[in-house]
């Protein structure tokens, strides 16, 4: 075991993948000598060479297309999008070409690509550096969407993503890169895609959440325990597509109340999908309507008020109170 930041854990996963599989390649803007703008690929070009860890020209659609072509030829590309807001330039590859390769070829071809991008607010970054676009991605058939909340999961889930034969979008919350340290095994291990994790047991209400909101929700759960005498269960979804229906349903059946917390804007996305899953599978177990705590239906691009924009413990505790007192 070693103590690592999340960005170090991500770096470690890619180092192991490059070491173990000659078909793994990393490319993107400034990922080589510079090691990426957050140093996620720090030292990897020096260790594995410029043919496996490459700076590309500044063109996201080029990066996406390169990944699809290499994937088709049996390579395992890890394609970095420098910030989430720049995926729009590459959406044809991310949302069409890569995820449709398998079905278009009747299962003959595949796209074993891992797209990675930092996302999320709380570090005062400029417009288009902090958006939460997972709602867009989970609407896309054929791609999996993964979002770790801590260094251990980040390394294990990234190794699973790289090994996966379908394309995976791996979302790295900016606020967690350096702020959070955790114990991480130095060797290879995987955390399975599609499995949520109950990170806090409770009996009164379940919060379903992911990414940085896991930590805000954990704090809110503690406050609710102290101030409201409520035992809050917290489920870290870890994979946003496909959702872990089994874990979601069994938690709702246990607590009979649910809240979904997402940093993303309110309309469409993970929260409404999760609520649909609950409606379809556990409606009669519910003692109260499911609540969502989310950002507002505006862009998140104004660092000066992002602290008010992003869901905070107060908003979550309010929701706990409302749901429990329904």
């Amino acid at each position: 075991m070693a103590t690592m930041t999340m960005v170090k854990a991500i770096n470690d996963a890619m180092r192991i993948a490059l070491q173990n599989d000659p078909n793994v390649m990393i490319f993107g803007e400034d990922v080589g000598k510079n090691g990426g703008v957050f140093r996620a690929t720090d030292g990897l070009q020096a260790k594995f060479g410029v043919d496996r860890v490459m700076d590309t020209p500044l063109a996201e659609s080029g990066i996406g297309g390169l990944a699809v072509g290499l994937g088709l030829q049996g390579f395992r590309p890890i394609a970095e999008m420098q910030f989430i807001g720049f995926i729009f330039e590459a959406l044809d590859s991310i949302m069409v070409q890569a995820p449709r390769m398998r079905f278009r070829s009747g299962g003959q071809y595949s796209s074993p690509i891992t797209f990675r991008a930092p996302f999320g607010g709380g570090v005062k970054s400029p417009e288009l550096h902090s958006d939460s676009l997972e709602g867009l991605l989970i609407q896309t058939p054929g791609i999996k969407v993964v979002c770790p909340s801590n260094p251990y999961d980040a390394k294990g889930l990234l190794l699973s993503s790289i090994k996966d034969n379908d394309p995976v979008f791996f979302l790295e919350h900016l606020k967690l890169y350096f702020s959070l340290k955790g114990e991480v095994p130095e060797d290879e291990y995987t955390v399975p895609i599609g499995k949520a994790n109950v990170v806090r047991e409770g009996t009164d209400v379940t919060i379903f959440t992911y990414g940085a909101m896991v930590h805000t929700s954990m704090k809110a759960a503690e406050i609710a325990e102290k101030d409201l005498n409520k035992k809050v269960e917290v489920v870290d979804l870890r994979t946003l597509s496909p959702l872990d229906v089994e874990t979601i349903v069994s938690s709702v059946e246990k607590t009979h109340r649910a809240i979904v917390v997402q940093e993303a804007q309110r309309t469409a996305g993970v929260a409404p999908e999760l609520i649909s899953v609950i409606n379809e599978n556990a409606l009669l177990s519910l003692d109260a309507p499911v609540k969502r705590v989310t950002g507002f239906d505006t862009p998140l691009g104004h660092p000066l008020i992002e602290d008010e924009w992003i869901p905070n413990t107060k908003r979550i505790v309010n929701a706990i109170e409302e749901v429990c007192n329904f």
């Binding site: 500044l58 505006t298 908003r315």
Partner: protein
């Protein structure tokens, strides 16, 4: 080994060759002028160009300091690019419309955009993007390449309305790799638009040197693929940049767009958000560029003509310091942003679901 095709002969004749050319220059690095290329400028105008470059340099140094103190948000330093920025804007008329990248705040400023709004934009305040009505610019673009394609749209609007004005846009060497870059020029060519496209080739896109961006010998030649006029200019030479843009502007008004590559150098970091040039700079390259930087060269020229003194320089430095101090004060005092204001600026009329989100916010957390 068997040869499958014979090279030479007919194929060689069919191979496109790009001729060697020289970047356009008016002032040599030691301040000597090439009279044949000298644009028509009065002594006052020459002094004004120098004043603006010194102003921009001092403003930049102050802004870097403010960013270090955490008093700005995103800031992309401009030192080394003054000639390219100031010279190009100086060739415009007030009615011309600028579509800038994130680094192009000086051009906006000299086109009428107040400095304090630049500071607010840097901090991420919405008012930074509220361009005063008589100022013909767009707020700085974050998405590399987007401003280029939009330029063709703005230029088409001017053409359709029969207005005598151009649209001008800026990107960097990195930006020239985007599909949008080529698409913009191609559209401008096809529709014969009054557009001028500038690439400020400052040799790096964050850490990536231009040699990894393209194997084309020049970025200027990328315009040829779109069939538009393309020139390369010494971007450390304010007179050369001015002359090239002035000429391109005239041609643009006649439906002939131009791509202009200005060769310059970013003397500072990419931005003030953790970029460390020592990780990627080619060793020993910076000193040569520092000696060649645009202010030194132009100062030498003006001094040789007795148009610039140390006193002049000091006056501008003091003037700039005061302007920056006043602008930052104004930015600090500007009304704070709020969630309700943000919500109300997403649509012309706030729809019911957003109105509800606003009311909930006001009821529970609002002030």
């Amino acid at each position: 080994m068997a040869k499958t095709t014979k090279s030479g002969g007919g194929l060689a004749g069919a191979e496109l060759q790009i001729q060697e050319m020289q970047a356009f220059q008016v002032l040599s690095p030691d301040g000597k002028v090439n009279e044949a290329n000298l644009p028509e400028l009065s002594d006052d105008q020459l002094r004004e160009l120098m004043r603006r470059m010194v102003y921009t340099r001092v403003w930049d140094q102050r802004a870097v300091g403010l960013a270090r103190q955490g008093r700005l948000g995103f800031y992309a330093p401009v030192s080394g690019q003054e000639a390219s920025m100031i010279g190009s804007q100086f060739a415009l008329e007030k009615e011309d419309f600028i579509l800038p990248g994130y680094r192009d705040i000086p051009q906006l400023h000299f086109h009428g955009y107040p400095m304090y709004q630049g500071f607010l934009w840097s901090r991420g305040h919405q008012h930074g993007g509220q361009i005063p009505e008589d100022v013909n610019v767009l707020m700085p673009q974050i998405i590399i390449g987007a401003q280029y394609v939009q330029t063709s749209g703005v230029a088409m609007a001017f053409k359709r309305r029969g207005e005598k004005r151009i649209a001008i846009t800026y990107t960097g060497d990195g930006g020239s790799s985007q599909g949008d870059f080529y698409e913009a020029m191609n559209f401008a060519g096809v529709f014969k638009l009054p557009a001028v496209f500038i690439v400020q080739n400052n040799r790096y896109a964050i850490s990536t040197p231009v040699s990894k961006q393209t194997v084309a010998k020049t970025i200027a030649q990328k315009g040829l693929a779109a069939g538009i006029r393309s020139v390369q200019v010494d971007g450390m030479d304010v007179l050369a940049v001015y002359a090239a843009v002035k000429d391109a502007r005239e041609r643009a008004l006649n439906g002939e767009p131009t791509l202009i590559e200005t060769l310059c150098y970013r003397l500072g970091p990419h931005s003030m958000s953790g970029d460390d040039p020592t990780r990627y700079r080619i060793k020993d390259e910076s000193p040569a560029y520092e000696e060649n930087e645009p202010l030194i060269r132009f100062r030498k020229y003006l001094e040789s003509k007795n148009l610039w003194t140390e006193e002049d320089e000091n006056k501008v430095i003091e003037e700039t310091k005061a302007a920056v101090a006043e602008a930052i004060k104004k930015a600090d005092q500007y009304e704070k942003m709020s969630i309700p204001n943000l919500i109300d600026t997403v649509y012309e009329t706030t729809p019911a679901h957003l109105e509800q989100q606003k009311q909930e916010y006001l009821a529970k957390e609002g002030k």
